[in-house]
């Protein structure tokens, strides 16, 4: 018998037995005394007749039985509110301070409950005051946290924080974009499972050695070549704890894939160039030398030499062309462009030249965005505007307009009635920006992939600036692709080692140290045997007694059948929503990968497990044999069947709010919160390890099943 039972069952029984015995004794003793007194006072002939004695016995027995029955009922009446008070006290003391005991017996028990409620009230008041203080501090901490989060989010580098075992605790969006693929969340896994393992091990070893030698600020340069020719380059460092222990490691990296590719091409070409050019140039050198130094060359030879010279020169020019092509394909020769609005650039450029007499025509509708480094373009344009203005006759305005022409968006500056304007001057203009090296206008335009040219019609002189359409730019692997999401994974409290699941002593582990995946399914109906299937599947991770808000698993599932309207009413998942969603086989495999070695938890797990097993069977996949525990039975075991155990009832009791009830993710989240709150309650009943929890669930399953039959 576990301590839990030892404490729960005898508590009521012992009191009951004592109460009943006391009442019976109190009632029967006076009767016995009365009989004794009667016997002594009666004449012997009457007192000792068997008939009389029989009557006394029968009366005595009836009295005893009636007493016991009355006492039993009295005890019941007394005990039921007592039990209520006890459960209430436990909930208040452990989980939910706003819980109140509802006992209306009209006697001292009711006032006891009322007193208790008053105490809880006072406690709650004190607690909420404390909470307010904590909230204030939390708000300021939150501020720091979100500042840190936005720093991390906007960092060009990918950043990964590892615990001392090399497991990923957090990563910024850039790192996630580089390292996470599909349903592989990377968070919580070892870095060796995410990046080339041997390299990771090597660098971690170097850092640990350095740490042991007392090098606290050691930085280890790292390179990680990945599949598909991708290349990450960066540094790893140790992170000390506040008490000077080793808290973990930091990896900061850049994705050099594109740069490396480019460098390789350029490098290859540069290396090839001398050897390619040497032969034709050597030939030309010799031929030219002969032609230049020998006067007496026969005509036929001379012609041959000249032709050869021409041939070699042509070959050289061809190679030069190839080199040019490589150089042009190098984006590094350009400033990094970004989609920009040509009209706003023009407006900015005009604003930068105050006092210029200019007229700006309206831009055409649907002007496509251009690829440019906006500041650079504004500077270049305002240089052009300033130059044109210096040639203005003073009374006709500078006309500026924009139109889309082919692959370009062209800005035209037109000036009427100018004299002595030289297009050559334009080329030599220099774009001057304070604090920057001046560059030529031509160079500024070239760096932005643009073109500049002039034309004149009669008295009109035009400068035209072409910008390339943004759609022509190769998509850059930059910040734009990064999803801006919650910084919830900056949970520094989790800076401690997670016990390894590999050790095989999973069952003897403490519940508060285990990793759980709490999951829920929404389905087309209640009967998988009759063809009902899953429409959505969600999982939430619980680690070290905490619900992780990041690394959530959620997917809609195409059930391959029409979703009945009554189910849609229940969970809101429609046929349109699941169109294009993965089939259950695929979702199951992803989910299995997500769960890994964690313990599965669900509310009424049997139902959800049935659908998972069905998915495995139907798709010929290996089913999941992770240990399973069920919050329904845990709650039932903790709070008995006096109270309800639906998700809503438990949430209400334990102070858990469900956001998105009847969505798989909302319910999984609520169940996870419930699990976390049940763990300390279970511990108070001696249920600490996974093995005990499973046995507890099993026992409660049988109890509940028995109860349900009466």
């Amino acid at each position: 018998m576990t301590p839990a039972q030892d404490r729960q069952i005898p508590f009521t029984q012992r009191i009951r037995v004592r109460l009943v015995s006391a009442i019976v004794l109190l009632a029967v003793c006076p009767f016995a005394l009365a009989v004794m007194a009667l016997l002594t006072s009666l004449p012997e002939s009457v007192g000792s007749t068997p008939h009389f004695m029989l009557r006394v016995y029968v009366l005595g027995s009836i009295l005893t039985v009636v007493c016991i029955a009355l006492a039993w009922r009295f005890a019941d009446k007394l005990l039921s509110p007592l039990l209520k008070i006890r459960h209430g006290a436990e909930i208040v003391s452990r989980i939910n301070l706003s819980h109140r005991i509802d006992v209306s017996t009209g006697d001292e028990l009711e006032s006891l409950a009322a007193d208790f409620n008053a105490m809880a009230e006072a406690l709650e008041g004190a607690y909420s005051e404390l909470e307010d203080r904590v909230r204030e501090v939390t708000v300021s901490l939150q501020g720091e946290k979100s500042r840190l989060a936005s720093v991390l989010r906007t960092m060009v580098e990918g950043l990964v924080v590892l615990n001392e075992h090399g497991e990923v605790l957090l990563m910024n969006p850039r790192a996630r974009a580089a390292l996470c693929t599909g349903s592989n969340p990377a968070l919580g896994r070892k870095l060796t499972q995410v990046l080339p393992a041997q390299r990771v091990e090597y660098h971690l070893k170097q850092l640990r050695l350095g740490w042991d030698e007392g090098r606290r600020d050691m930085v280890e340069p790292v390179i990680f070549p990945l599949a598909g020719g991708r290349l990450l380059k960066g540094v790893m460092a140790v992170m000390p704890e506040h008490n000077y222990g080793l808290a973990g490691f930091l990896l900061a990296f850049r994705d050099l894939t594109e740069e490396a590719e480019r460098d390789k091409r350029v490098d290859l070409h540069l290396r090839k160039l001398p050897s390619m050019l040497r032969s034709p140039l050597s030939s030309m050198h010799s031929l030219a030398e002969i032609l230049a130094t020998r006067k007496d060359i026969p005509e036929e030879k001379r012609t041959a030499f000249a032709a050869a010279l021409h041939g070699e020169a042509t070959a050289c020019l061809k190679m030069l062309g190839e080199g040019e092509e490589v150089a042009n394909s190098m984006p590094s020769a350009y400033w990094p462009g970004q989609p920009a609005d040509a009209q706003s650039i023009l407006v900015e450029a005009l604003a930068a030249r105050k006092g210029v007499f200019a007229e700006l025509s309206n831009p055409p509708e649907h002007l496509p965005p251009v690829a440019a480094e906006p500041f650079g373009w504004v500077a270049a344009m305002s240089t052009v505007i300033g130059w044109l203005d210096s040639h203005s006759n003073g009374w006709s305005p500078l006309l500026a307009s924009i139109e889309a022409e082919g692959d370009m968006v062209v800005t035209t500056f037109s000036l009427n009635g100018t004299k002595d304007i030289s297009p050559d001057e334009l080329k030599n203009l220099s774009v001057e920006v304070e604090g920057e090296e001046p560059i030529s206008l031509t160079e500024a335009v070239r760096r932005n992939r643009g073109e500049i040219w002039t034309r004149s019609h009669g008295d009109d002189f035009e400068v035209r600036l072409g910008m390339v359409k943004a759609s022509l730019l190769p998509e850059e692997d930059g910040g734009a692709r990064i999803v801006d999401d919650q910084p919830e994974f900056y949970d520094f409290d989790l800076f401690q080692a997670r016990p390894g699941f590999e050790t095989g002593d999973l069952l003897s582990r403490d519940l508060s140290e285990l990793e759980f995946v709490v999951f829920d399914t929404e389905t087309t109906g209640l009967s998988p045997a009759k063809g009902d299937r899953v429409v959505s599947l969600s999982g939430v991770r619980v680690r070290r007694g905490k619900v992780l808000s990041s690394g959530v698993f959620h997917t809609l599932v195409d059930p391959g059948m029409v979703i009945p309207p009554e189910s849609i009413k229940f969970h809101g998942v429609t046929d349109e929503m699941v169109a294009g969603a993965p089939k259950m086989g695929e979702a199951f495999e992803d989910f299995k990968e997500y769960v890994g070695e964690a313990v599965l938890v669900a509310h009424n797990a049997a139902f959800d497990m049935k659908f998972l097993e069905l998915a495995a069977r139907e798709n010929n996949l290996v089913s999941m044999d992770n240990p399973v525990i069920d919050t329904l039975f845990l709650s039932f075991g903790v709070h008995g069947d006096l109270q309800g155990h639906s998700l809503d009832a438990i949430s209400d009791r334990l102070g858990v709010t469900i956001e998105g009830r009847h969505t798989s993710l909302g319910d999984a989240r609520a169940t996870a919160e419930i699990l976390v709150k049940l763990i300390p309650l279970l511990a108070a009943r001696g249920v600490r390890t996974l093995a005990q929890a499973k046995a507890f669930c099993d026992r409660m399953l049988i109890l509940r099943w028995q109860n349900s039959r009466y």
Binding site: S279, P280, S282, M284, S286, L287, I290, T293, F305
Partner: protein, 121 residues
Amino acid sequence: MSMKKVLVVDDEPNILLSLEFILEEEGFEVKTAGDGEEALEAAKSFEPGIVLLDVAMPRRDGYEVCRLLKSQDAPPKVIMLTAKGQPLERKKGLEVGADAYITKPFHAGELVAEINALLEK
């Protein structure tokens, strides 16, 4: 084997064209070959005193041709035509038995002087 016989080996026809002209002007008997294989054939029948050998060639490179030539009885003198600034190439050439180097591009006078110097040895 006449010392005045020069075999010029290069895969660039225009180099052959100019070298042939320069050397003939200097009174050498010149034969040309466009690759390593051809060079070995020509060396057998022509029996040159000097071979001008380009390093980078299709079908047997200059080093291999040099090694094969030098393994014959009464081998010809070999001048390698190499790219500039390649110390490793020079070392490699030395080890296969080349007698001299000319770096491309070269002056006609330089080449002729080098040939004459070798012949006088």
